[in-house]
Symmetry: C2
Subunit: 152 residues, 2 copies
Amino acid sequence: MFNDKDHSFMHAAMEEARLAATRDEVPIGAVLVKDGEIITRNGNRTIELNDPTAHAEILCIREACALEASQRIPEFDLYVTLEPCTMCAGAMAFARIKRLIIGASDPKGGGVLHGAKFFDQPTCHHKINVEHGLMTNQCSQILKEFFQNKRK
Amino acid sequence: MFNDKDHSFMHAAMEEARLAATRDEVPIGAVLVKDGEIITRNGNRTIELNDPTAHAEILCIREACALEASQRIPEFDLYVTLEPCTMCAGAMAFARIKRLIIGASDPKGGGVLHGAKFFDQPTCHHKINVEHGLMTNQCSQILKEFFQNKRK
């Protein structure tokens, strides 16, 4: 289902997640890929930027849209270490992302496979091709370790 | 249910919606209020900013969070001319908005009263006090006129 390129892109997203942890942000990372190349990459920065919308996915989308000078980037695939929340799922649909590849799932806060299941709603006007289960254990391990250290 | 202050705040949101129309953006406006005063106000700017997340509500939230130097603004009430989408509903929950006052409802794209009904989901961790039906006709009229003119 997933090829070497997919693994290398998720690896990059995991690097962004680990960098977020060093900034004491919830360690989630994302990359946006076009024509087989990473165009934007980021991790959560909600604390650093005092911005509740500064999730990894939204930061990647906003930067890619700025680069493309468009609010729609239909040639981009998004790789993210954790199932996106409802806010980010909405942003992806508005941006017309082509393909969404998810590492770990998020039963507590996810909005794609859980909860709002936004892409399944009649109010979602761009259904995104979702693939999940890429490097799930490694992706969730980053979060587990972060919260274990927090509790110490 | 709604008092004079509520009406004046929705009036300001409607002004922002009309300004958005002059920029050829979908005419939706919002204001964020704290202690009875408008702190931030904006309309949609997704085209102008090449940013699919630049909805009126998110622009108001990001600006207010920057002013408050926090990703959470629990003392703020948000007035918006149209029922927020799922993306904006998610942003409001993350920002810990206190009260959401909606003008017109949006069966096609709304994420509060329709579709994802985000605040009713177990994956929403901050239920917002939602009031709707304030100046509904005037709020929807702005949108109707905009799209009627588009079709001409």
